[in-house]
Protein backbone atom coordinates (compact mmCIF):
# COMPACT_ATOMS: atom_id res chain seq x y z
CA UNK A 1 0.00 0.00 0.00
CA UNK A 2 1.16 3.50 -0.78
CA UNK A 3 2.30 5.99 1.80
CA UNK A 4 -0.13 8.88 2.19
CA UNK A 5 1.00 12.48 2.66
CA UNK A 6 -0.57 15.75 3.70
CA UNK A 7 0.64 18.05 0.92
CA UNK A 8 -1.54 21.08 1.61
CA UNK A 9 -3.36 22.25 4.72
CA UNK A 10 -4.72 25.38 6.32
CA UNK A 11 -7.43 26.69 8.63
CA UNK A 12 -9.25 29.96 9.04
CA UNK A 13 -8.78 32.00 12.21
CA UNK A 14 -11.52 30.64 14.46
CA UNK A 15 -14.16 33.13 15.57
CA UNK A 16 -17.88 33.94 15.52
CA UNK A 17 -19.30 34.51 12.06
CA UNK A 18 -23.10 34.45 12.41
CA UNK A 19 -23.48 36.40 9.15
CA UNK A 20 -21.67 33.72 7.13
CA UNK A 21 -22.81 30.26 5.96
CA UNK A 22 -21.32 26.85 6.70
CA UNK A 23 -20.50 26.30 3.02
CA UNK A 24 -18.76 29.67 2.78
CA UNK A 25 -16.66 28.91 5.87
CA UNK A 26 -15.77 25.46 4.49
CA UNK A 27 -14.97 26.89 1.07
CA UNK A 28 -12.52 29.38 2.55
CA UNK A 29 -10.47 26.67 4.28
CA UNK A 30 -10.67 24.41 1.20
CA UNK A 31 -9.25 27.11 -1.05
CA UNK A 32 -6.53 27.94 1.50
CA UNK A 33 -5.44 24.28 1.70
CA UNK A 34 -5.44 23.92 -2.10
CA UNK A 35 -3.41 27.12 -2.47
CA UNK A 36 -0.97 25.82 0.15
CA UNK A 37 0.11 23.11 -2.31
CA UNK A 38 -0.56 25.02 -5.53
CA UNK A 39 -3.41 22.76 -6.65
CA UNK A 40 -7.07 23.46 -7.48
CA UNK A 41 -10.36 21.72 -6.87
CA UNK A 42 -10.09 20.38 -10.44
CA UNK A 43 -7.14 18.25 -9.25
CA UNK A 44 -9.15 16.57 -6.46
CA UNK A 45 -10.59 13.12 -7.17
CA UNK A 46 -12.88 13.06 -4.13
CA UNK A 47 -13.97 15.29 -1.26
CA UNK A 48 -14.54 14.26 2.37
CA UNK A 49 -16.42 16.79 4.45
CA UNK A 50 -16.87 16.72 8.23
CA UNK A 51 -19.76 18.65 9.75
CA UNK A 52 -21.98 17.76 12.69
CA UNK A 53 -24.81 20.26 13.10
CA UNK A 54 -25.95 20.14 9.47
CA UNK A 55 -25.16 16.46 8.96
CA UNK A 56 -28.22 15.88 6.81
CA UNK A 57 -27.67 18.90 4.58
CA UNK A 58 -24.92 17.87 2.10
CA UNK A 59 -22.36 20.36 3.37
CA UNK A 60 -19.55 18.92 1.19
CA UNK A 61 -21.60 19.38 -1.97
CA UNK A 62 -22.48 22.92 -0.88
CA UNK A 63 -18.77 23.67 -0.44
CA UNK A 64 -18.23 22.56 -4.05
CA UNK A 65 -20.97 24.91 -5.19
CA UNK A 66 -18.75 27.68 -3.74
CA UNK A 67 -15.44 26.51 -5.22
CA UNK A 68 -16.24 24.36 -8.26
CA UNK A 69 -18.74 21.62 -9.01
CA UNK A 70 -16.42 19.04 -10.55
CA UNK A 71 -18.76 16.06 -10.15
CA UNK A 72 -16.35 14.07 -7.97
CA UNK A 73 -17.61 11.80 -5.17
CA UNK A 74 -18.41 13.66 -1.96
CA UNK A 75 -18.68 11.89 1.38
CA UNK A 76 -20.13 13.77 4.35
CA UNK A 77 -19.14 12.53 7.79
CA UNK A 78 -20.73 13.03 11.21
CA UNK A 79 -18.98 11.34 14.13
CA UNK A 80 -19.33 13.50 17.26
CA UNK A 81 -16.17 15.48 18.02
CA UNK A 82 -14.21 13.07 15.80
CA UNK A 83 -16.18 14.29 12.77
CA UNK A 84 -13.35 16.19 11.06
CA UNK A 85 -10.77 13.52 11.86
CA UNK A 86 -13.13 10.89 10.45
CA UNK A 87 -13.42 12.82 7.16
CA UNK A 88 -9.62 13.06 7.01
CA UNK A 89 -9.32 9.36 7.77
CA UNK A 90 -11.81 8.36 5.06
CA UNK A 91 -9.68 10.27 2.54
CA UNK A 92 -6.52 8.63 3.85
CA UNK A 93 -8.13 5.20 3.54
CA UNK A 94 -9.25 5.77 -0.05
CA UNK A 95 -5.69 6.66 -1.07
CA UNK A 96 -4.28 3.74 0.92
CA UNK A 97 -6.67 1.47 -0.94
CA UNK A 98 -5.35 2.79 -4.24
CA UNK A 99 -8.69 4.22 -5.34
CA UNK A 100 -7.47 7.84 -5.57
CA UNK A 101 -4.19 9.77 -5.58
CA UNK A 102 -5.46 13.17 -4.50
CA UNK A 103 -8.37 14.01 -2.21
CA UNK A 104 -9.56 16.99 -0.20
CA UNK A 105 -10.72 16.75 3.41
CA UNK A 106 -12.66 19.68 4.86
CA UNK A 107 -14.01 20.18 8.36
CA UNK A 108 -16.40 23.00 9.18
CA UNK A 109 -18.81 24.03 11.94
CA UNK A 110 -20.99 26.95 12.90
CA UNK A 111 -21.72 26.70 16.61
CA UNK A 112 -23.57 29.45 18.43
CA UNK A 113 -23.01 29.99 22.16
CA UNK A 114 -24.06 28.08 25.22
CA UNK A 115 -24.10 24.69 26.89
CA UNK A 116 -23.87 21.52 24.86
CA UNK A 117 -25.44 18.22 25.90
CA UNK A 118 -28.05 17.55 28.52
CA UNK A 119 -30.96 17.58 26.10
CA UNK A 120 -33.99 19.82 26.27
CA UNK A 121 -37.70 19.10 26.39
CA UNK A 122 -39.34 16.04 24.91
CA UNK A 123 -42.80 15.62 23.41
CA UNK A 124 -43.44 12.66 25.66
CA UNK A 125 -42.31 12.52 29.27
CA UNK A 126 -40.27 15.14 31.10
CA UNK A 127 -36.73 16.49 30.65
CA UNK A 128 -34.37 14.77 33.07
CA UNK A 129 -31.49 17.28 33.08
CA UNK A 130 -31.00 18.49 36.65
CA UNK A 131 -33.47 15.88 37.88
CA UNK A 132 -31.48 12.69 37.28
CA UNK A 133 -28.02 14.24 37.46
CA UNK A 134 -26.47 16.31 34.72
CA UNK A 135 -25.63 15.39 31.15
CA UNK A 136 -24.26 18.76 30.04
CA UNK A 137 -20.77 18.51 28.63
CA UNK A 138 -19.20 20.55 31.50
CA UNK A 139 -20.79 18.10 33.96
CA UNK A 140 -19.83 15.00 31.99
CA UNK A 141 -16.23 16.18 31.97
CA UNK A 142 -16.43 17.23 35.61
CA UNK A 143 -17.18 13.57 36.35
CA UNK A 144 -14.27 12.58 34.08
CA UNK A 145 -11.92 14.80 36.09
CA UNK A 146 -13.22 13.74 39.48
CA UNK A 147 -12.81 10.09 38.55
CA UNK A 148 -9.12 10.94 38.12
CA UNK A 149 -9.18 12.72 41.50
CA UNK A 150 -10.81 9.64 42.99
CA UNK A 151 -8.00 7.41 41.71
CA UNK A 152 -4.99 9.70 42.10
CA UNK A 153 -5.96 12.70 44.22
CA UNK A 154 -5.74 15.17 41.33
CA UNK A 155 -6.60 18.69 42.55
CA UNK A 156 -8.73 21.56 41.27
CA UNK A 157 -5.51 23.57 40.94
CA UNK A 158 -3.87 20.93 38.75
CA UNK A 159 -6.87 20.87 36.39
CA UNK A 160 -6.87 24.68 36.31
CA UNK A 161 -3.18 24.75 35.32
CA UNK A 162 -4.16 23.12 32.00
CA UNK A 163 -6.17 26.24 31.15
CA UNK A 164 -3.36 28.56 32.20
CA UNK A 165 -0.97 26.67 29.90
CA UNK A 166 -3.25 26.47 26.87
CA UNK A 167 -4.39 30.07 27.13
CA UNK A 168 -0.73 31.06 27.26
CA UNK A 169 0.01 28.98 24.15
CA UNK A 170 -2.81 30.66 22.27
CA UNK A 171 -1.14 34.06 22.66
CA UNK A 172 1.45 32.72 20.20
CA UNK A 173 -1.12 31.50 17.65
CA UNK A 174 -2.59 34.12 15.31
CA UNK A 175 -5.39 31.70 14.32
CA UNK A 176 -6.71 31.17 17.87
CA UNK A 177 -10.08 32.63 18.87
CA UNK A 178 -8.77 34.01 22.19
CA UNK A 179 -5.20 35.17 22.69
CA UNK A 180 -5.26 36.23 26.32
CA UNK A 181 -3.16 35.10 29.28
CA UNK A 182 -5.24 33.74 32.16
CA UNK A 183 -3.31 33.51 35.45
CA UNK A 184 -4.11 30.61 37.78
CA UNK A 185 -6.17 32.74 40.21
CA UNK A 186 -8.27 34.06 37.33
CA UNK A 187 -8.97 30.53 36.05
CA UNK A 188 -9.84 29.24 39.52
CA UNK A 189 -11.97 32.26 40.43
CA UNK A 190 -13.91 32.32 37.18
CA UNK A 191 -17.60 31.35 37.35
CA UNK A 192 -17.93 27.72 38.45
CA UNK A 193 -19.91 25.73 35.88
CA UNK A 194 -19.61 22.13 37.11
CA UNK A 195 -16.90 21.54 39.71
CA UNK A 196 -13.98 21.57 39.00
CA UNK A 197 -14.60 23.11 35.57
CA UNK A 198 -14.86 26.90 35.76
CA UNK A 199 -15.90 28.93 32.75
CA UNK A 200 -12.23 29.36 31.75
CA UNK A 201 -11.77 25.57 31.86
CA UNK A 202 -14.44 24.97 29.20
CA UNK A 203 -13.62 25.02 25.48
CA UNK A 204 -14.84 27.92 23.42
CA UNK A 205 -17.80 27.36 21.09
CA UNK A 206 -16.66 29.04 17.87
CA UNK A 207 -17.23 28.88 14.15
CA UNK A 208 -14.35 27.58 12.11
CA UNK A 209 -13.05 25.49 9.27
CA UNK A 210 -9.88 23.62 8.32
CA UNK A 211 -8.86 21.56 5.32
CA UNK A 212 -6.15 19.20 4.13
CA UNK A 213 -5.09 17.85 0.74
CA UNK A 214 -4.05 14.19 0.93
CA UNK A 215 -1.84 12.62 -1.72
CA UNK A 216 -0.29 9.28 -2.64
CA UNK A 217 3.51 8.98 -2.67
CA UNK A 218 3.73 8.51 -6.43
CA UNK A 219 1.60 11.55 -7.16
CA UNK A 220 3.35 13.74 -4.59
CA UNK A 221 6.71 12.95 -6.23
CA UNK A 222 5.29 13.47 -9.70
CA UNK A 223 3.93 16.90 -8.72
CA UNK A 224 7.10 17.92 -6.89
CA UNK A 225 5.24 18.27 -3.58
CA UNK A 226 7.53 16.20 -1.34
CA UNK A 227 9.56 19.05 0.14
CA UNK A 228 6.70 20.29 2.37
CA UNK A 229 4.85 16.96 2.54
CA UNK A 230 4.10 15.34 5.89
CA UNK A 231 3.63 11.58 6.06
CA UNK A 232 0.55 10.07 7.75
CA UNK A 233 2.27 7.34 9.78
CA UNK A 234 -0.94 6.12 11.38
CA UNK A 235 -4.68 6.70 11.36
CA UNK A 236 -6.81 5.02 14.02
CA UNK A 237 -10.46 5.23 14.94
CA UNK A 238 -12.25 3.55 17.85
CA UNK A 239 -15.71 3.37 19.36
CA UNK A 240 -16.28 3.08 23.09
CA UNK A 241 -15.89 -0.47 24.37
CA UNK A 242 -17.90 -1.68 27.33
CA UNK A 243 -16.65 -0.38 30.64
CA UNK A 244 -18.33 -0.34 34.02
CA UNK A 245 -19.44 3.31 34.15
CA UNK A 246 -19.67 4.06 30.44
CA UNK A 247 -23.44 3.68 30.19
CA UNK A 248 -24.10 5.74 33.32
CA UNK A 249 -21.46 8.40 32.92
CA UNK A 250 -19.61 8.27 29.57
CA UNK A 251 -16.10 6.88 29.83
CA UNK A 252 -13.65 8.48 27.39
CA UNK A 253 -10.64 6.55 28.66
CA UNK A 254 -10.83 3.08 27.09
CA UNK A 255 -11.91 4.46 23.70
CA UNK A 256 -8.85 6.73 23.66
CA UNK A 257 -6.58 3.95 24.87
CA UNK A 258 -7.71 1.69 22.02
CA UNK A 259 -7.22 4.37 19.35
CA UNK A 260 -3.79 5.28 20.75
CA UNK A 261 -2.62 1.67 20.91
CA UNK A 262 -3.81 1.02 17.36
CA UNK A 263 -2.06 4.16 16.11
CA UNK A 264 1.25 3.40 17.85
CA UNK A 265 1.22 -0.14 16.46
CA UNK A 266 0.44 1.07 12.94
CA UNK A 267 3.18 3.70 13.14
CA UNK A 268 5.63 1.23 14.66
CA UNK A 269 6.59 3.63 17.42
CA UNK A 270 5.67 4.60 20.96
CA UNK A 271 4.80 7.66 23.03
CA UNK A 272 8.50 8.40 23.67
CA UNK A 273 8.97 9.03 19.95
CA UNK A 274 6.35 11.79 19.84
CA UNK A 275 7.62 15.39 19.81
CA UNK A 276 4.31 17.23 20.20
CA UNK A 277 0.63 16.46 20.72
CA UNK A 278 -2.64 18.19 19.91
CA UNK A 279 -5.20 16.43 22.11
CA UNK A 280 -8.88 16.88 22.89
CA UNK A 281 -8.93 19.45 25.72
CA UNK A 282 -12.66 20.14 25.41
CA UNK A 283 -12.43 20.77 29.17
CA UNK A 284 -9.35 21.22 31.32
CA UNK A 285 -10.15 17.96 33.11
CA UNK A 286 -10.01 16.05 29.81
CA UNK A 287 -6.42 17.01 29.03
CA UNK A 288 -5.20 15.50 32.30
CA UNK A 289 -6.77 12.07 31.72
CA UNK A 290 -5.59 11.95 28.10
CA UNK A 291 -1.91 12.35 29.11
CA UNK A 292 -2.29 8.87 30.55
CA UNK A 293 -4.65 7.49 27.90
CA UNK A 294 -2.17 8.45 25.17
CA UNK A 295 0.74 7.01 27.16
CA UNK A 296 2.51 10.38 27.52
CA UNK A 297 3.09 9.45 31.16
CA UNK A 298 2.45 6.55 33.51
CA UNK A 299 -1.00 6.13 35.05
CA UNK A 300 -1.35 8.51 37.97
CA UNK A 301 1.45 10.78 36.77
CA UNK A 302 -0.64 13.35 34.86
CA UNK A 303 -0.97 15.73 37.81
CA UNK A 304 2.79 15.82 38.22
CA UNK A 305 3.18 16.37 34.48
CA UNK A 306 1.12 19.55 34.50
CA UNK A 307 2.83 20.73 37.74
CA UNK A 308 6.32 20.40 36.28
CA UNK A 309 5.49 22.05 32.95
CA UNK A 310 6.48 19.01 30.89
CA UNK A 311 3.57 19.62 28.53
CA UNK A 312 4.17 23.35 28.05
CA UNK A 313 5.98 24.77 25.05
CA UNK A 314 9.67 24.11 25.74
CA UNK A 315 8.84 21.12 27.95
CA UNK A 316 9.56 17.42 27.34
CA UNK A 317 6.36 16.81 25.33
CA UNK A 318 4.47 20.02 24.47
CA UNK A 319 0.69 19.53 24.37
CA UNK A 320 -1.75 21.86 22.63
CA UNK A 321 0.73 24.57 21.66
CA UNK A 322 -2.03 25.88 19.35
CA UNK A 323 -3.95 26.97 22.44
CA UNK A 324 -6.10 23.86 22.21
CA UNK A 325 -9.85 23.69 22.18
CA UNK A 326 -9.80 25.73 25.39
CA UNK A 327 -8.48 28.86 23.72
CA UNK A 328 -8.04 28.30 19.98
CA UNK A 329 -11.67 27.21 19.99
CA UNK A 330 -13.68 24.07 19.25
CA UNK A 331 -15.79 24.16 16.08
CA UNK A 332 -16.71 20.46 16.35
CA UNK A 333 -16.47 19.31 12.71
CA UNK A 334 -13.37 21.41 12.03
CA UNK A 335 -11.38 20.50 15.14
CA UNK A 336 -9.91 17.20 13.91
CA UNK A 337 -8.51 18.75 10.74
CA UNK A 338 -7.35 21.89 12.55
CA UNK A 339 -5.23 19.56 14.71
CA UNK A 340 -3.71 18.07 11.53
CA UNK A 341 -2.94 21.61 10.33
CA UNK A 342 -1.23 22.46 13.62
CA UNK A 343 1.01 19.38 13.70
CA UNK A 344 1.84 19.68 9.99
CA UNK A 345 2.83 23.32 10.49
CA UNK A 346 5.30 22.34 13.22
CA UNK A 347 6.75 19.45 11.21
CA UNK A 348 7.28 21.90 8.36
CA UNK A 349 9.04 24.27 10.78
CA UNK A 350 6.54 27.00 9.88
CA UNK A 351 4.89 27.57 13.29
CA UNK A 352 6.66 30.86 14.06
CA UNK A 353 6.71 31.91 17.73
CA UNK A 354 5.12 28.70 18.97
CA UNK A 355 7.37 26.36 16.94
CA UNK A 356 8.32 23.16 18.78
CA UNK A 357 12.03 23.04 17.94
CA UNK A 358 13.21 20.01 16.03
CA UNK A 359 9.75 18.41 15.86
CA UNK A 360 9.83 15.30 13.67
CA UNK A 361 6.78 13.31 14.80
CA UNK A 362 3.47 14.62 16.09
CA UNK A 363 0.20 13.11 17.29
CA UNK A 364 -3.37 14.36 17.03
CA UNK A 365 -6.28 13.15 19.14
CA UNK A 366 -9.99 13.90 19.21
CA UNK A 367 -12.71 12.13 21.17
CA UNK A 368 -16.41 12.86 21.08
CA UNK A 369 -19.37 11.86 23.17
CA UNK A 370 -21.09 8.75 21.99
CA UNK A 371 -18.22 7.82 21.72
CA UNK A 372 -15.72 8.17 18.87
CA UNK A 373 -11.97 8.63 19.13
CA UNK A 374 -9.47 9.29 16.34
CA UNK A 375 -5.69 9.37 16.66
CA UNK A 376 -3.30 10.30 13.85
CA UNK A 377 0.49 10.17 13.84
CA UNK A 378 2.26 12.49 11.40
CA UNK A 379 5.94 12.50 10.45
CA UNK A 380 8.26 15.01 8.83
CA UNK A 381 9.57 13.62 5.53
Amino acid sequence: MTNVYVVGTDMIKFGRFPERTVDDLGAEAALLALADCGLTIADMQAVYCGNLFQASAAVGQRVLKQIGQTGVPVVNTANACATGATAFREGWMAIKAGVYDLVLAVGVEQMGKGLLGGGGGKDDGIPTEGLLGSGTMPSVFAHVGLEHSRKYGTTFEQFAKVSVKNHHHSTLNPKAMYRVETPLEEVMNAEMISYPNTKLMCSVNVDGSAAAVLCSEKKAKELGLMSRAVKVRASALASDPWSKHNLAAMDFNPVTQIAAKTAYEMAGLGPDDIDLVELHDCFATAEIVHYENLGLCKDGDAGRMIDTGETALGGRIPVNVSGGLLSKGHPLGATGIANIYEITTHLRCEAGERQVEGARIGLTHVVGAGSACAVHVLEKV
Binding site: P127, G130, L132, H143, K244
Partner: protein, 143 residues
Protein backbone atom coordinates in the same frame (compact mmCIF):
# COMPACT_ATOMS: atom_id res chain seq x y z
CA UNK B 1 -56.96 15.15 23.10
CA UNK B 2 -57.71 16.93 26.32
CA UNK B 3 -54.90 18.46 28.35
CA UNK B 4 -57.11 18.85 31.40
CA UNK B 5 -55.78 17.53 34.73
CA UNK B 6 -58.79 15.18 34.91
CA UNK B 7 -57.06 12.93 32.33
CA UNK B 8 -54.17 12.16 34.67
CA UNK B 9 -54.08 8.66 36.12
CA UNK B 10 -54.04 7.93 39.83
CA UNK B 11 -50.52 6.47 39.66
CA UNK B 12 -47.76 8.89 38.63
CA UNK B 13 -45.74 8.07 35.52
CA UNK B 14 -42.11 6.99 35.79
CA UNK B 15 -39.44 9.55 34.85
CA UNK B 16 -37.41 6.76 33.19
CA UNK B 17 -38.40 3.29 31.94
CA UNK B 18 -36.25 1.45 34.48
CA UNK B 19 -38.17 2.99 37.40
CA UNK B 20 -41.05 0.59 38.03
CA UNK B 21 -44.24 1.64 39.81
CA UNK B 22 -46.30 -1.42 40.78
CA UNK B 23 -49.99 -0.98 41.53
CA UNK B 24 -49.36 -2.49 44.95
CA UNK B 25 -46.12 -2.13 46.84
CA UNK B 26 -43.15 0.19 46.65
CA UNK B 27 -41.55 1.62 43.48
CA UNK B 28 -38.19 0.11 42.59
CA UNK B 29 -35.36 0.26 40.05
CA UNK B 30 -35.26 -2.56 37.55
CA UNK B 31 -31.99 -3.75 36.02
CA UNK B 32 -31.15 -6.46 33.52
CA UNK B 33 -28.50 -8.97 34.51
CA UNK B 34 -26.58 -10.98 31.94
CA UNK B 35 -26.76 -14.66 32.83
CA UNK B 36 -23.39 -15.21 31.09
CA UNK B 37 -21.13 -12.45 32.45
CA UNK B 38 -23.34 -11.35 35.42
CA UNK B 39 -23.06 -7.64 34.57
CA UNK B 40 -26.15 -5.48 35.27
CA UNK B 41 -27.53 -2.89 32.84
CA UNK B 42 -30.29 -0.41 33.51
CA UNK B 43 -32.12 -1.00 30.24
CA UNK B 44 -33.09 -4.06 28.23
CA UNK B 45 -30.94 -4.79 25.19
CA UNK B 46 -30.98 -7.41 22.46
CA UNK B 47 -27.53 -8.66 23.42
CA UNK B 48 -25.10 -8.04 26.25
CA UNK B 49 -22.97 -4.89 25.65
CA UNK B 50 -20.16 -6.46 27.68
CA UNK B 51 -19.92 -10.06 26.49
CA UNK B 52 -22.09 -9.90 23.29
CA UNK B 53 -24.15 -13.00 24.24
CA UNK B 54 -27.64 -12.81 22.79
CA UNK B 55 -30.79 -13.11 24.87
CA UNK B 56 -28.98 -13.41 28.21
CA UNK B 57 -30.35 -10.26 29.90
CA UNK B 58 -33.02 -10.96 32.51
CA UNK B 59 -34.89 -8.27 34.48
CA UNK B 60 -34.37 -8.08 38.21
CA UNK B 61 -35.23 -5.74 41.06
CA UNK B 62 -32.15 -3.76 42.09
CA UNK B 63 -31.02 -2.78 45.58
CA UNK B 64 -32.06 0.52 47.16
CA UNK B 65 -28.61 0.99 48.63
CA UNK B 66 -25.28 1.76 47.08
CA UNK B 67 -22.07 3.78 47.13
CA UNK B 68 -21.25 7.20 45.68
CA UNK B 69 -18.78 6.46 42.88
CA UNK B 70 -18.53 9.98 41.46
CA UNK B 71 -20.12 13.40 41.87
CA UNK B 72 -19.97 17.04 40.88
CA UNK B 73 -21.77 20.16 42.06
CA UNK B 74 -23.45 21.79 39.06
CA UNK B 75 -23.61 25.59 39.29
CA UNK B 76 -24.68 26.51 35.76
CA UNK B 77 -27.36 24.76 33.76
CA UNK B 78 -30.16 25.46 31.34
CA UNK B 79 -32.72 28.15 32.18
CA UNK B 80 -35.38 26.77 34.52
CA UNK B 81 -33.12 24.13 36.09
CA UNK B 82 -32.55 24.93 39.75
CA UNK B 83 -28.87 25.20 40.67
CA UNK B 84 -26.72 24.31 42.47
CA UNK B 85 -27.39 20.57 42.57
CA UNK B 86 -25.31 17.44 42.93
CA UNK B 87 -24.97 15.17 39.91
CA UNK B 88 -24.01 11.77 41.27
CA UNK B 89 -22.99 8.41 39.85
CA UNK B 90 -23.89 5.57 42.18
CA UNK B 91 -22.93 1.90 42.16
CA UNK B 92 -25.87 -0.02 43.61
CA UNK B 93 -25.09 -2.86 45.99
CA UNK B 94 -25.32 -6.09 44.02
CA UNK B 95 -24.93 -4.42 40.62
CA UNK B 96 -26.16 -1.56 38.49
CA UNK B 97 -24.65 1.92 38.05
CA UNK B 98 -26.67 5.03 37.33
CA UNK B 99 -26.59 8.80 37.39
CA UNK B 100 -28.97 10.85 39.47
CA UNK B 101 -29.33 13.80 41.83
CA UNK B 102 -27.96 13.43 45.35
CA UNK B 103 -30.30 15.36 47.67
CA UNK B 104 -30.89 16.01 51.39
CA UNK B 105 -27.27 17.17 51.68
CA UNK B 106 -25.72 20.56 51.00
CA UNK B 107 -24.43 20.91 47.42
CA UNK B 108 -20.93 21.52 48.74
CA UNK B 109 -17.93 19.53 47.50
CA UNK B 110 -16.42 19.39 50.99
CA UNK B 111 -19.49 17.50 52.28
CA UNK B 112 -19.15 14.74 49.68
CA UNK B 113 -16.90 11.70 49.89
CA UNK B 114 -16.13 9.04 47.32
CA UNK B 115 -17.78 5.73 48.24
CA UNK B 116 -20.04 7.29 50.90
CA UNK B 117 -23.10 5.06 51.38
CA UNK B 118 -26.34 6.29 49.83
CA UNK B 119 -29.95 5.18 49.66
CA UNK B 120 -32.31 5.33 46.70
CA UNK B 121 -35.61 7.10 47.36
CA UNK B 122 -38.58 7.79 45.11
CA UNK B 123 -40.23 11.22 45.10
CA UNK B 124 -42.32 13.45 42.94
CA UNK B 125 -40.17 14.80 40.09
CA UNK B 126 -41.53 18.32 40.49
CA UNK B 127 -42.02 18.42 36.74
CA UNK B 128 -45.10 17.64 34.64
CA UNK B 129 -45.52 16.83 30.97
CA UNK B 130 -47.66 18.84 28.55
CA UNK B 131 -50.75 16.87 29.52
CA UNK B 132 -50.21 17.72 33.18
CA UNK B 133 -49.21 14.19 34.23
CA UNK B 134 -47.19 13.89 37.42
CA UNK B 135 -43.93 11.92 37.40
CA UNK B 136 -42.08 9.90 39.97
CA UNK B 137 -38.26 10.11 39.95
CA UNK B 138 -35.49 8.41 41.86
CA UNK B 139 -33.07 10.36 44.05
CA UNK B 140 -30.05 9.45 46.12
CA UNK B 141 -29.82 10.50 49.76
CA UNK B 142 -26.99 9.97 52.26
CA UNK B 143 -27.54 6.67 54.10
Amino acid sequence: MSAAPSTTSALPKAAVPFLKIPEHGEPYLEGHRCSACKEVFMEARRACPKCTKIGTLKPEKLANTGKLYNFTVVHRNFPGVKVPFISAIVDLDGGGSLKGNLVDIEPDMSKLKFDMPVKVVFRDAGRQDKAGNKYLAYFFIPA
